[in-house]
Amino acid sequence: MGAVGGPLLELSGVRAAYDGITVLHGVDLTVDAGQVVALLGPNGAGKTTTLNVASGVHPPSGGRLLLGGRDVSGARAGDLARAGVCLIPEGRGVFPNLSVRDNLWMMTFTGRAREEIEDAAYARFPVLGDRRTQAAGTLSGGEQQMLALARGLTTDPAVLLLDELSMGLAPLVVADLYERVADIAREGVAVLIVEQFAAAVLKIADHAAVLARGRIPWQGPPDRSLHAELSSYYLGSAP
């Protein structure tokens, strides 16, 4: 049995490579149950790769991936998903030509009844209930993101991995979405959010880490010192 009192998600010295080119050079990061951790960094820093390693989609070439205290490096993504790891990738991944309801019904493979899935989704995101017969591709960007979140939550995740939730959305919509993510974390879910635009996510984050060129040069509470660090890495003045 894993160390339940410890972090739910732990990356320890994780390295990852594509075709022999190393993109992560020893990433150390932990996320506790009920905690929101923001992983920030410029384009090409390795943020999405970090999420892919954490979800088992991309195998690490070194280091360890620990979930619930157990080393699961090399485990299949499907097995980790069944255990409770949920990755919501960039671009939402909804089926645009299916209705909202059909998109939710796709999640009946989890063994839950259609009504149960719909009730849970509409209770958390009432706007989806109003649009249940509308094709998902005709929803606004924020509503599509809500649908992606609602679908992910039907898997009853213990670890939620979110990639660029704010992509292409208005600031007010992003703020609303992040409030909902904070609610999800309060239910005991460990949330790791990858973001390029820091302002919104830092309002709900308990902990933040800066990823630059495959390394985490800074991590800590999201306070003023983080803003100075971020500026230096985003603007390229950091070593």
Binding site: G2, G74, A75
Partner: protein, 139 residues
């Protein structure tokens, strides 16, 4: 910030499920090696089968013919096993590619359809989601 204390039951169940998870040894996942081995066995088997025929024909000695027959049968068996291995691992790769391609095509089709769909909610119970019916014309 999410400051309220986190409930642990889900975390405990998560850790329990992960503890029971069987993680495959990466050393055993050698599909490429099996694919090459299958191809090699198939080629060697065919060569052995072809070589055994003139060997058996070129002698009157029944013992030598028996040896040649054994070589030929061994070659055929190796070719059958090699072909099975080769098909198993090459089909997996092909089907994976085919599924990815299908999913990409469906997404493209979906995008094309949604650009022509109305933006107002569809009526309840409409099985066609607003897409015009394409029933065959009456004869």
């Amino acid at each position: 910030m999410t400051s309220s204390p986190a409930p642990r039951p889900r975390a405990e169940r998560f850790a329990r499920e992960l503890a029971e998870l069987k993680i495959p040894d990466p050393a055993t996942a050698r599909a490429a090696l099996w694919l090459r081995l299958g191809g090699l066995l198939m080629a060697v088997g065919l060569v052995l089968g072809a070589v055994a025929f003139p060997l058996a024909h070129g002698t009157d000695n029944s013992l030598a013919q028996g040896d040649a027959l054994a070589v030929g049968l061994g070659g055929i068996a190796a070719a059958v096993v090699g072909a099975a291995l080769f098909l198993r691992y090459s089909l997996t790769g092909f089907l994976r590619f085919w599924l990815a391609r299908q999913s990409y095509d469906l997404e493209l089709l979906g995008e094309r359809l949604t650009t022509t769909l109305p933006t107002h909610p569809l009526p309840e119970g409409d099985p066609h989601h607003g897409v015009p019916r394409t029933d065959p014309a009456p004869r």
